[in-house]
Every structure is written in C-alpha cells, then in structure tokens.
Symmetry: D2
Subunit: 136 residues, 4 copies
Amino acid sequence: MAFETTIEISFGDCDPAGIIFYPNYFRWFDAAFQAFLKTRELDQHSLRETLGTIGTGLIDVGASFRAPASFGDTMTLRITGIEWTDRTFRITYEGRIGERVIVEGFELRGVFVKDGDRLKAAPVAPLKDLVGDLAA
Amino acid sequence: MAFETTIEISFGDCDPAGIIFYPNYFRWFDAAFQAFLKTRELDQHSLRETLGTIGTGLIDVGASFRAPASFGDTMTLRITGIEWTDRTFRITYEGRIGERVIVEGFELRGVFVKDGDRLKAAPVAPLKDLVGDLAA
Amino acid sequence: MAFETTIEISFGDCDPAGIIFYPNYFRWFDAAFQAFLKTRELDQHSLRETLGTIGTGLIDVGASFRAPASFGDTMTLRITGIEWTDRTFRITYEGRIGERVIVEGFELRGVFVKDGDRLKAAPVAPLKDLVGDLAA
Amino acid sequence: MAFETTIEISFGDCDPAGIIFYPNYFRWFDAAFQAFLKTRELDQHSLRETLGTIGTGLIDVGASFRAPASFGDTMTLRITGIEWTDRTFRITYEGRIGERVIVEGFELRGVFVKDGDRLKAAPVAPLKDLVGDLAA
C-alpha cells in the first residue's frame, strides 16, 4: 500500500477559470511528503538532529495535468514510489478524483548539508534507512 | 454541535520563524466556510443559481492569534457561530491545538449581486433559510 | 510621505468569482511591512541579532474590503501609520486602485522573545528607535 | 530582449528552512506569463472573447532549482523563449539573483476550448498571431 492523503479542493484553491490554480498541486505534493515522513515519526526538526541536514530540499520537480478539477472535488493524492540514488531521491505522486487521474508529478530531493557558505547534497542512505519501505 | 474541520499544519504553511504564516489562517477560515456550505449541499455554483448572487463575498475580517503553532501540529478549526443581520452575516471561528486556543477570528460576509457595474449586498434571509441552524 | 508598494494583481491571485482571494491581502500587508523594514536596512535576521527577538509576530489583524479588485488591476498599498505602545505596534494599511480605496487593514504586532517554552512580547522601544519616523 | 519581471522575495515566501517555499516559483512563472500577455494588451478575459477559449491552461510544468534564495533577495525572472507547436506552446523561464541562476523552468500550455463536458486543446496559431515575437 502506498501512502495517500485526501484533499478537499476549496473555492480559494481555484482561479478565475474555476479550476485549480496549478501551484497548489506542488503545495499538496510537499504536504504529502511531509505527512508521509510523519508516519515514520520524522519531520524537518528530527532530520536536522539525526542527519545534520538543513532539509530535504528540492532539485527538480514536475507535474502533468491530465484533467481539470474544481472546488467541491475530493482528490486522493498518492505517493506511488520513491527511487533512491546515492545523493538524490525521487518521489512520484498521482492525484485522482474518483477513478480519474488528474495529475501526475514528481519531486527530486536531496539531503542538504552546509558546506561553508553553500549547500551540498549528502548521501541519502541514512534517510533511506529511517524511511524504510514505502509500502510498510 | 458546531461545524469543525481538521487541518494538519504542514512545513510549507510556516515561515522562517518556524510558525504558521498568518494569511494561511484566513485561507483555512474560508475553506471551513465553504466546507460548511457543502454539508448543506450548497456551494458557490448553486448559490449563484438559486440566489442569483455572484458570491458570498467578504466585507470585514479579523483574527487574534493567541499562541503560535508549527508544522506537525493538528489544528481543529470550529465555526462557533453565525450571526445574521438584514444584509450581512458574521461567521466566528476558533482554532485549537489540543485544548489550547491558538486563533479566534471572524468573517463578515454579504450576499452580493450585480447592480449595474457595481456590486451590492442583497438581503441574506434566503441564504439563512438554505443554511438553517449551525447546530443542525 | 508614507511608505508604499505597488502590486500587480495577477490571475492566480483571484478566485472563481474573478476577484482577489482575500487572504492574499494579508500576504501583501506582511510583504509591505517587510519591505518597509528593508528601507531601514532591517530584516528578521538583523532584528534577531540586534534585539534578540524571534520575530515581529502578529497579535491581531483585520481588514475591511471597500470594493472588489481583479486581475490586471494595479494596487498601490500604503502604510498609513504606525502606532507604538509599550509592548505592541499597530501598522495601518490602505490599498487603492487609482483613486479608489479597495482595502483598509491593520496588523498589531509585538517583538517576541523566548520565555522558557513560551513566547512573550518584549518592549518595542528599541525597535521604534531603529525604525524611526514612518515619514522619513 | 526577452520579457522580464522583478520579484522581491519576502519573508512569507520562505519556509522554516529560511528559503523560498518552492510552489511560489510556479506562482511567479504564471504571473510572469500573465504580465507578458498584458504587454500585448491581452488577458484571460480578452482571450475568451477573441479566441473563444476558456483559458491558456497547463499541460505540463517543471522547474530545476540551481541555488537556494531567501527573503531580502531580489529575483529577476525572464521569459527566455516560447516554442509553438500545433496545439501547445512551451514557455521557458529563468530566475536570477544578481548574475546567479537560481531557477529554470517551463510551462507547456494549450488554448483550451469546451468540447461538450470536456476540454480540448485548440490550434494555437491565433494566439501566436496575437502574441507576436517575444523579443518585440
């Protein structure tokens, strides 16, 4: 079972065309990821302490909009996968209203640590160990 | 029983001080009001059709912040009352984390209709009839 | 001369009724206050260092909506006054499109410092000295 | 000369890590596109009238984050290109702080019209004619 959350699309989430103003999808992706971490009893505070990271920052993101949605709709947003490399992890999302897929997207994240004045991506293995299996 | 909703405070709802960026409270007030309408099978579309209104627009709003809240907190947001006058209605809100009140606020709304190029507030009695008792 | 900023109302700032989704006004109030601080070479980092505060947090806010506005409109947002008491300061705002006032609002803020696990409002005089006269 | 806008990164645009909460970049991309249309005296109202479209909706979007940015920074956001196909157009964006690129992104849009209950992407040539050359 993948992780999923439910989002009630509200009037204020929509634009003058009456459909979801698209940056909101990314707000919901991020919130789903943070809510997923919470199921592991992790958050940005605890990751700072245990991993010394300043955050699970974004490298690359994207979304494809399959069908419009509007206020009154209830979206089920699922994390459909997490792919780990040495220094990145890629979370994939799928949002449905009923059976209909309305959005697919991803976030490529790193575990960032300070390197002097800059940030650099640290190995993600310690986070992977903490998170465990998506299906768990 | 008053109407209530639950809001999971997410990382992205908070500012660099680590607490809720306050305009979000008004986003949640509005969403709670729209969700409350939905319990009456009303929304901005149906109100347009049945009442000829362009919307239940805002006249005056306010909020008092009693205590800070941060990501990971779960807020219970209640509509604690609706007061009706001839051409306005005032919705009051209270947000709690556990037993602690963190925010109290209100929205003064009208039922706006077109009057030439301008908008004017129409009598609210037809909406009051549709909404019925908050406690119902 | 009071401080003022210019805001181009964008499509995404508006709701399905085609007018500004009202929480955005508070986002702009806060941004105007931060921009005003910047004219004094102050920001939330420098205030933390010089005043030991965790931030100029909100106690109470409000807004009155005088007329609707939509995308394509250009709003001039002015700070019309700052009133100082011992432990609070109240910033008043006025937004106009052309000559027409569309919004008036205020933010009551404190200079918050940590007091064990809680926050408390410290005297605002040191901030008042740094900010100086609004008209300067 | 490409189209460009200036964005003052504000406190409320940033998250508890102190950097821009990433969905805001897409809000700014969309606002830049709408501001660009305004330079052609076009907006979502006029496009509805002249092209019969319900909007220049999104099909696919993405962004790559090259470096973090924080409040107090001033971002110059440029539209670096528009590529037209039969039924889509792809707008590319680049955001810089000083000389440093912090974000690159794109929006793939269509000109959507109603087709019964659904939406379909109409030919974009009429919009292309109205918009003309990006460099103009």
